[in-house]
Symmetry: C2
Subunit: 411 residues, 2 copies
Amino acid sequence: MKQSQLFTKTIKKEIKDEKSSNAQLLIRAGFIDKLSAGVYSYLPLGWRVLKKIENIIREEMNEVSGQEVLLPALHPKSSWTKTDRWKYKEMFKLKNRAQKDFSLGWTHEEIVTPLLQKFVQSYKDLPVSVYQIQDKFRDELRAKSGLLRGVEFLMKDLYSFHQSEKDLDQYYEKVKKAYFKIFQRCGILKQTYLTLASGGTFSQYSHEFQTITPYGEDQVYLCSKCKLAINKEIIKKQKYQCPKCQSKKLEEKKSIEVGNIFKLMDKFSRAFNFTFKDRNGKEKPVLMGCYGIGLGRLMGATVEVHHDEKGIIWPESMAPFQVHLLLLEKKKAIKKITEKLYQDLQKSNVEVLYDDRENVSAGEKFIDCDLIGIPYRMIISEKTLSKNCLEIKKRDKKSKKLIPLSKFLKT
Amino acid sequence: MKQSQLFTKTIKKEIKDEKSSNAQLLIRAGFIDKLSAGVYSYLPLGWRVLKKIENIIREEMNEVSGQEVLLPALHPKSSWTKTDRWKYKEMFKLKNRAQKDFSLGWTHEEIVTPLLQKFVQSYKDLPVSVYQIQDKFRDELRAKSGLLRGVEFLMKDLYSFHQSEKDLDQYYEKVKKAYFKIFQRCGILKQTYLTLASGGTFSQYSHEFQTITPYGEDQVYLCSKCKLAINKEIIKKQKYQCPKCQSKKLEEKKSIEVGNIFKLMDKFSRAFNFTFKDRNGKEKPVLMGCYGIGLGRLMGATVEVHHDEKGIIWPESMAPFQVHLLLLEKKKAIKKITEKLYQDLQKSNVEVLYDDRENVSAGEKFIDCDLIGIPYRMIISEKTLSKNCLEIKKRDKKSKKLIPLSKFLKT
């Protein structure tokens, strides 16, 4: 894409009402725009990152046999009374003109359970898992951390249905692996720890995935021996000991919850009387698991982990473009060959943002380039051209390299 | 995909509370599920159709230089007061816990105008157009036509910004063509007419795209000479004459509005004081156009146009799969070669739904196949195998053909 055509422009000044680095950088670089506390628009650059994240998550969900659906955001009150969760404080409630009560979905157990109940009758219909990537709403009073805590936010939620605890356990481990794969592909694996969290009434633990960063809103306790984190709630119960190895050598760290997985067991199936016939014809409650990842939050967490004082440093897998090609000189010959490089890179399926803007100084282009944070910067100058080369620099490295133009130009 | 793994099952009985063919067929075949009047879930088959439609629309919007964004559904009241549209009856309204007023977006002029205002200052920044594919909400009392009239519904909305009426006019014609391309690709071009509708305060006409079908909720008047439709509102003003050729030979037809395009001129830019500096440094209001298509409505309209008494007849471009492969015999040799055909078709990037279900009769499989409406049905039987062939039948044709297996099987 030509940068002269991109409707967003970078913002030089600090954004007044945003404290977090992710919001500062993403707004200043033109990825997102704030409409209201915790409510953001994704602009063209941000939309591209969102699609990259969406595709990574979708591929990994399909790998664990998830069937994709799209459930409504608007829920009638009747969906929420059977589980006694209509009273949930953070749920937005509204009425239609006929005075019927609705809520905006902040999760979808109450929708997906009766939906699957319509189709699952026998053990032969199990296991099954469905997921969606969809807008959620939460009436959040402290929406002050940019994309980390949204009032409206995109989430992937997967729900799995099983005939036995053993089957649920096996699937749960499979999804755990899929989650680590997602965080690896998003470039935050090194910072992300499986974290013991409260399991509710039915399981000893549920699991969060916490990404360690000084800007995190959560607090976890790391056991380096077990490579495990323990959340605040659990560590208090455990009297500040690792529940696995009993070590007291725990590091307190700030972190961001980038995912959570939970064995729901029969909590929702009992509420909806969702049973199946087992091999012996006996009716049993279906066992469930649920597995969430916030897409915006993952974007925000990645920016918190991967940035410097100049701007964002996108992992290649999530970057809006792979190459930021800068035109810095006005000479016709340079413009012509830079233009050709732009065309030829695209023909080779490389995603390029081409800074072809006129009346913008080289200095400003460098500043914007660092702020936007695309992995590879490319420049052709008179100097590099005299050696039939282009200059390439990785966003996260200081060194520049000269590469023969022939490597990229098509004849 | 193996049909034995698809969590949905077809429903034999008529759906009680649905009158329209699109809702009857889409629910019975397992494409959608109704949560509340006008509020539907897209199930795996429906989700696949939705993605096909989304991709067609996205490609055509990118062709007219649309930049994709994703705007919020939750709007603060302050966005809606400047245009005096907070009073709009069909807009859902709600409060957060801090008693701040919000609405759910049923359109996005009030969001996109101040957003673009942040970035557009000069004639050099124009023209620009942005679009999104996103959930809309409308407090609709008569949501009785399945996907044709939603309370929650997916929409593509494109907004364009111009420095002159001439430029807006040119772009408007370009989008008109893009819309016809979309309807052509979706297989409803023949039934879809450009329709004169009221232009509001600023233009003589706006344009709707109306798809003629006996099940439509709208009514239009066709002038066969001009290949033009006129909507109810306009035809009354025109005293039942074609405004173009003055002919009184007009056919009254039921129809579904599948798209609309509108020159907003300076209506919204004036409300937000959105101006640009022209070549002479003079401040002028930006001129706008808006262009909508409902994705679910397009799906519903396609089913209304393309179905018979047995079920849906999907156009290839929108079908959830291209091939429905039925395994009808229990013999091992047949199963083995059908399985190989399933694998090999997928290797050739053909999307296949493979009905591998055991304990389902051939008769039931045929009924489900016609109901789901995938374009090509394939079967290998002992008889066809003896000729080294498979049987292929198009959903919309009666005749069957024998095709050599070698055409599809990889060695």
